[in-house]
Each structure stands twice: as structure tokens, then as C-alpha cells.
Symmetry: C2
């Protein structure tokens, strides 16, 4: 099948994916028999274009890089909003790359529902719909006979989620545990080098790892959102995103870090989920002292890692980036290629 | 589709898979819509049975565990050899779990070809056919419209191969590098604790990690076979299994290990493959001093690890077991579930 793609949102991730698609188009066709056209881009701020026979992705990327928006592209229908784009274009694959709202999940949840109800495949990196409504949305996808993917919602393009969902299917996952927030891991790594918490945070902000308001990262809420997604989708849990106990790194001092190291340990912000005997799943986020010879102890800087404990394989750990334009863009591509693989053969 | 499975070979791996299938049958049906019957087992030593409507896997496993063979099972056709089992039973999925011969690849190559020519899916853990004839066999699978999988040929059930083939499709893999032989890694780990090479080897043999003749492990040939499989299947190389330079661990002394540790390094037997600018791939096996803060440095004992270097994600590392009855049995199950996933939807 040929994919007609619509981008809902054309920010950092959308542009990252566009770069990869442009660079790899020929290779993807030859190697994975994957062919596509981008027929629509709809962004509330940068502008919207639709052309049934395909847009010039290269020119759109140049426009947004030069001007910050898509104005003046021309030779296509202008101005369709996200819902009209999802419903009324000839796109058969919708990419939900708009902004994340973890309180309401909107407008992303409506985008995803609309796509599924219109029997269009959907790939997203937006945590909102997955954190708040994943089961309902998966049921809707099944009902409509289309695919829904969301690898980029956890550890960006590092295939932690699909590893658990697909590669480890049947392995009997009893636990997931890891470092799923790069900002706090970077801060802890810098504190070990001698910086105070405040200076390490400032440096993280300067490098773009931490936001101006770092609360979501340093208090553990971002990590909590990710472990809840993993628990609910990979381990069959039914956790709400605010339920599990959550403690961030703000109470860890330089002294704590030095003392742990002397004892052969390293403080890490750990997110975990564990299957209980009664079939329920407990999750948590908290700082833990990890022995230096444990794989998670040596994950430094903004890198992420996740260990699945399984019945038949013991521990399987995956390590990779947890954020970034190209890694998150790639997350979308990997989901698209998986859909291409599933529905072709 | 319902899978009718034939086991060709019922040794350690086949029995491991049988245990997992028995334990998980209900769960696999519910969770992955995977249903199966084992219709045939053909083992040159233990005996062969075929029953169109399905054999009693539990009883077969009990028989082999009690008596070391399948004699006296009854109520089924006895004595069909592997080729007749592949061709003339109603099996639509063949598991090639017979012995490995890395010189000729036989009889496994003939088993695989026969299955594919008879339009039957095939899963194997046997390195022979993959090391010697993977491209020809993949072409034959494509020609006959059936699937061929071989996750268990590298790092047993740790999904290193399918990670590279599927999850990282399109990521632009430029390098694969890792610890892919558990025996040598165990020996090096024990030498660091103070054992001599000879004593560490003896201990590995006692624990079943090393064979009576340890040549294939300690001289690096086993690792070389695995990196050649990875290079050829994941990175599109055309290496023959004896071509790349190969050096084992027999020259490493306890002194070398102690000295490296003082300097902040650890000796590891590294297998690597690297894409060159001209599109060819260089591979090698050799001991390398790895910095202690590198993820591969802290892989101890019989554990394996592989790092893919990619264009869009940087480094992705996977860590897990490299051998064992249940891990290798699971490798087969994961391939079967992937086929189930591909051909259903």
C-alpha cells in the first residue's frame, strides 16, 4: 500500500521526521517496500496545506526553517484545520504531533479518535492520549480495523515500548525498571562531578535539557507518566497517571552523592512497575542507590535505560536516547514501518 | 490462522520451547490470538511421532524427561524421518532445532529448503543455515510466500537480531559491537576475581558454560559466527564466516586484567562490524580494553550485550542472556509470535 500521510503539528518532532523521510525516501522504498506521499500538514500556528497528489516536503521544510512558518507555499489548498485535515483529506495515515496536555489530553485525544473513526492509521508521540485514554483508543482502533502506534511517548526513539509489546511478547514480563528521564539523570551526573543541584539545573536549562519551569522533570512527574504508560500498555495495568507514589530528586544533596559513591553506589531517579501476585501492578518513581556494577548505575548524562525482568529471559535492558529531534522523529518512522510491515504481508 | 507445528529435533532447546508453550498456551491464545497444535516431533535419536489432530505435548515432554527418549508414546504414526515429517505432515510451521554443523550447514540447510519449497513457515535456532546460506534461503522464503525467522542464532532469546532487523529499521545502523560470547565473558570476569585462565576455564566447564573442547569459544570463532550473521542480515554485508580477523582470549593474562583495571579499563572479547564509506562492511573479533564507564564494560559473567550505532538515534544497547534452555526456547516463541502477528492482520 502507498501511505498518504498528514502531519497534525509541524514543530520540532514533525520537522525531525520530515528530515529523516527526505533523506531516506529511496532507501525505505528499496529496503522496506515503503512508499509514501505527504498530502497534508496542518499546524495551528505555522499554517496548513493540503494537496491530494502530494506536497513538496523539501520546500515546506525549507520554508519553516527560513521563516518559522509555512506561509506562501502555494499550489495547494490552504488553511484546513486539524479535524478537517484528518477527516476530509485523502490521508490514510495521520501523525499526531501537536502539543501535549497531560491534564485533558486535548486536542490530541479528539484528533486520535477522529482518525480512528475515519479508519485511518495513527502514529503519535503525544503522551496525552496514551496516558489518559490508551485502552479506549486501542479498542477503537481494533473496532475500525486500523493500527495505532506510540513508541515515541516513552524514551523517544529508543524502542523500549515496542520491545516490551512485541519482541518480549510471551516472555512473561514481571517488572519494568529504569531511568526514563534524561534531565534528572543529567543533573545527578553533573552533581557527581562537583556541581551543586542549583548549578547543575542551570546548566541543564542552558543546554535545553530542562525547561524554564523544571517541576515536571525534577519532581518525577514526567518519569511517572512514562512508567504508567509502560505499566498500562506492556504489563496490562490500569493505573491512573497520578496514582502511584512519586518522589523527585530535589532532596538529594552533593553530600548524598559523594557518600553513595564511597560505598559503591550511585543515586539514580528510578521509575518502576512490578506485577503483584494478584495480577495488579504497583508503580513508583523514587531516587534509589544503585550498586555501581548494575547496568543502570552507568547510565550517565541524558541517556535513558529500561530493564524488563522476565520469566524466561531474566533481565533484558535497553539503553538509548530519551529525547531529541531526530530520535523522536525516528520513533514515528519506526512505528510507520511497523504498520507497513504488518499490513503488507 | 491455527499453527500446526512440527519439531525437527527435540533436544535442550526443543524441550525448553515445549515447556514454555505448555505453560503459556492459554495466555498466548487470549493475549496474542495465537493458537497451535504440535502435530509432529521428529528426532533422529529420541524417536518420531506424527498425529494429524495433534500430539499430547505434555506427555511427550514427560517421556523424554523420564526416559531420555519418546519410545512407547503410541496412538500416532511412528518413525517418520525429518524430511518426510517436513513434507508429508499437515504441519504449516517447521521448527529446525536439530544439531548445528558450521562446516556444511547440514542437515539443517536441507531441512530449511525443504520446508520453504513446501510453502511452510520456518523458525530456527541453528546457526548453520544462517551463517552459510542466509541470502539464498531468504530469497527462497520470499519466492514461496512464507516466513523464515532465526532470532535464536545470536544472543539466544535476547532480541538483538530482531531489534536490528525490525525496531531499528530506517535508523541508519553504521556499526554493531558487543559481547556476544558468554563463556569468554564469564572466564574474563572470573580472572578479574583472581582466578588463572586455566582455573576460570575449568570452572566454566564445570558450570556447563564451556564445552570439553573450548576452542570455538576461547579462540573467538563462536563470536565471529554471530557477528557475521549480524553483519550479513542486519547490515547487508556479504561476509563469509571465516573471512574477518579473529583473535580470542587465550593470550590475556591475570596481570593484563589487573593492569587494565588500575588504568580504568576492563578487557572484553569484542565482536564488531562497521559499515565503510564504500558500502562494504568490516567485521572482527578481538580483545579490547573498554573504559569502565562504557555500558559494555559492566557486562559481567555469561551475560551478552550489543550496541548498535545509528545515524538518527546514536547508540542503542541491548543487554541480556546469551544462552540457556529457556532463553533459546523463548527465541523460537518470539519468532513464532512475530509470524503470527505479520500474517494475521
Amino acid at each position: 500500500m502507498e501511505f498518504n500521510i498528514a502531519f497534525i503539528g509541524f514543530g520540532v518532532v514533525g520537522q525531525g521526521l520530515a528530515k529523516i523521510l527526505l533523506e531516506q525516501e529511496k532507501y525505505l522504498k528499496e529496503k522496506y517496500d515503503f512508499s509514501f506521499k505527504v498530502v497534508a500538514i496542518s499546524d495551528t500556528v505555522k499554517g496548513s496545506w493540503y494537496r491530494r497528489s502530494g506536497l513538496d516536503l523539501k520546500r515546506l521544510l525549507e520554508l519553516v526553517e527560513e521563516n518559522g512558518n509555512l506561509k506562501g507555499y502555494g499550489d495547494a489548498i490552504e488553511g484546513w484545520d486539524s479535524l478537517k485535515t484528518i477527516k476530509d483529506t485523502n490521508a490514510n495515515l495521520i501523525l499526531e504531533l501537536a502539543w501535549t496536555d497531560l491534564k485533558t489530553g486535548e486536542p490530541a485525544i479528539t484528533h486520535v479518535k477522529t482518525a480512528l473513526q475515519n479508519k485511518k492509521h495513527i502514529v503519535m508521540t503525544n503522551k496525552g492520549p496514551i496516558a489518559l485514554a490508551v485502552k479506549e483508543l486501542l479498542a477503537l482502533a481494533k473496532e475500525n480495523g486500523v493500527e495505532m502506534r506510540y513508541e515515541g511517548t516513552v524514551l523517544s526513539g529508543t524502542p523500549a515500548l515496542n520491545l516490551g509489546l512485541h519482541n518480549l511478547a510471551g516472555a512473561g514480563i514481571t517488572k519494568a525498571k529504569g531511568i526514563v528521564n534524561g534531565t534528572t539523570n543529567y543533573i545527578l551526573s553533573e552533581m557527581e562531578k562537583g556541581l551543586s543541584y542549583e548549578d547543575a539545573l542551570k546548566q541543564a536549562q542552558k543546554l535545553g535539557y530542562a525547561e524554564a519551569d523544571p517541576t515536571a522533570d525534577v519532581e518525577g512527574y514526567d518519569a511517572l507518566g512514562k512508567i504508567v504508560i509502560l505499566a498500562n500498555t506492556v504489563m496490562g495495568a490500569n493505573l491512573s497517571k497520578d496514582e502511584p507514589p512519586c518522589e523527585g530528586i530535589t532532596k538529594i544533596t552533593a553530600q548524598d552523592i559523594a557518600k553513595a559513591k564511597e560505598e559503591g553506589y550511585r543515586w539514580k531517579l528510578i521509575a518502576g512497575a512490578e506485577l503483584k501476585e494478584d495480577g495488579s501492578v504497583d508503580a513508583y518513581v523514587r531516587p534509589e542507590k544503585v550498586p555501581l556494577d548494575h547496568p543502570l548505575a552507568n547510565i550517565m548524562g541524558p541517556t535513558n535505560a529500561l530493564t524488563y525482568t522476565t520469566k524466561y529471559l531474566g533481565d533484558i535492558t535497553i539503553i538509548g536516547p530519551g529525547a531529541g529531534q531526530l530520535p523522536t522523529g525516528f520513533a514515528v518512522l519506526s512505528d510507520i514501518l511497523d504498520i507497513n510491515r504488518i499490513i503488507k504481508e
